[in-house]
Subunit: 210 residues, 2 copies
């Protein structure tokens, strides 16, 4: 039977609207009317809007993060690694999110961007506290792939990288529309990620202090 239960309908509508409009601008009223459920059901099933946001994020993070961590740990066992390999660790786990939903990778990465931006960095806090180990392994891998960088340089470049990815993805819809119009270039999420990797790897590995 095709009738999804209310909780599922809310999550499915919310993640799309959150991704498109941001967590603040996507109101419970637009979410519930899109999901075709009653306004009060969000508070009934999730408690509050903030809890709904956490539920939306965690549906993706709880799958994505362990996969990334596994890939990073496997890579860290190699004797010699480069930065391309480090960033490559994120691609398969990202694309695996199609299992949740066809447009899962896209939605997730836009949510990530929104979350990093809205709510004065609540998501950064959430990730650091729930998945700090992954960040730690990511940093380790970068250190191993670019051993000439100082810890401070690694710190800054990790955050430059996060900024690039998150920001690009948060506005990827608009950018892909322009690319489509200007270059007749159809590009999917994986294609975009693979455009990013050389940029990121080269940026992170740059000789510092110019």
């Amino acid at each position: 039977m095709s009738k999804k239960d209310t909780k599922q309908k809310i999550l499915d509508a919310a993640e799309v609207l959150f991704a498109e409009q941001g967590f603040n601008d996507a109101s419970l009223r637009i979410i519930t009317s899109t999901a075709d459920v009653n306004l009060a059901s969000v508070n009934y099933h999730f408690g509050s809007k903030k809890d709904l946001i956490k539920a939306v994020m965690d549906r993706y993070l709880s799958i994505f993060m362990p996969n990334v961590d596994e890939a990073l740990q496997r890579l860290l066992k190699e004797p010699d690694i480069n930065l391309h390999q480090v960033f490559e660790c994120f691609v398969a786990p990202l694309m695996a999110l199609t299992r949740i939903k066809r447009r899962g990778p896209e939605i997730f990465i836009q949510l990530l961007g929104r979350g990093y931006i809205d709510n004065q960095g609540f998501l950064r806090w959430f990730i650091v506290n729930h998945y700090g180990q992954v960040l730690e392994h990511f940093t380790q891998a970068i250190r191993k792939g670019a051993p000439e960088l100082s810890p401070s340089d690694v710190f800054w470049r990790v955050h430059f990288t996060l900024g690039t990815v998150v920001f690009t993805m948060a506005s990827s819809d608009a950018l892909r529309d322009i690319a489509q119009a200007d270059f007749n270039e159809e590009i999917d999420v994986e294609g975009l990620v693979r455009k990013l990797i050389p940029y990121l790897a080269s940026g992170v590995g740059a000789r510092p202090h110019y």
Copy 2:
């Protein structure tokens, strides 16, 4: 006499609060009470909150953009240029904003980040429409500094770059706090920009298609 007129007091308070909290979260009530003026004076002097935002942004953009453009045009006349030089074009104009206010560069660049993020890309539209020529010269300079890139690659990397800068700067306060705590590293805006340049130049100039 120290008594500034109302319009000036509003602009000065608004730009700081917009930079710190974002355009949506900084309410007219907190702005006017910080500026020590009446709530209604924003609408009286500027028309609406949106117009206030435009006024705040334009006070900086109208100084910053022509200076950048001049630097880019001068660089474009050189026979041989590299990407470091392209990005260097932004540094002096940015630091010149201390003339408006001591923390001008910092505030401006945070505003830029906020504006790119909030209001579904209203600022991008504003910049493309009012300062499209500068973007065009920026793109030209990158093409000249990295002639092996395809137009499509240039497009994408210009936007990766914008993302990196804007995002880093929008959260620069938090990042600098962490760097201060973890590495005892005091860093000012210019220092941060100079950390960014090698990363950006190397990223933009990376060999594509990995």
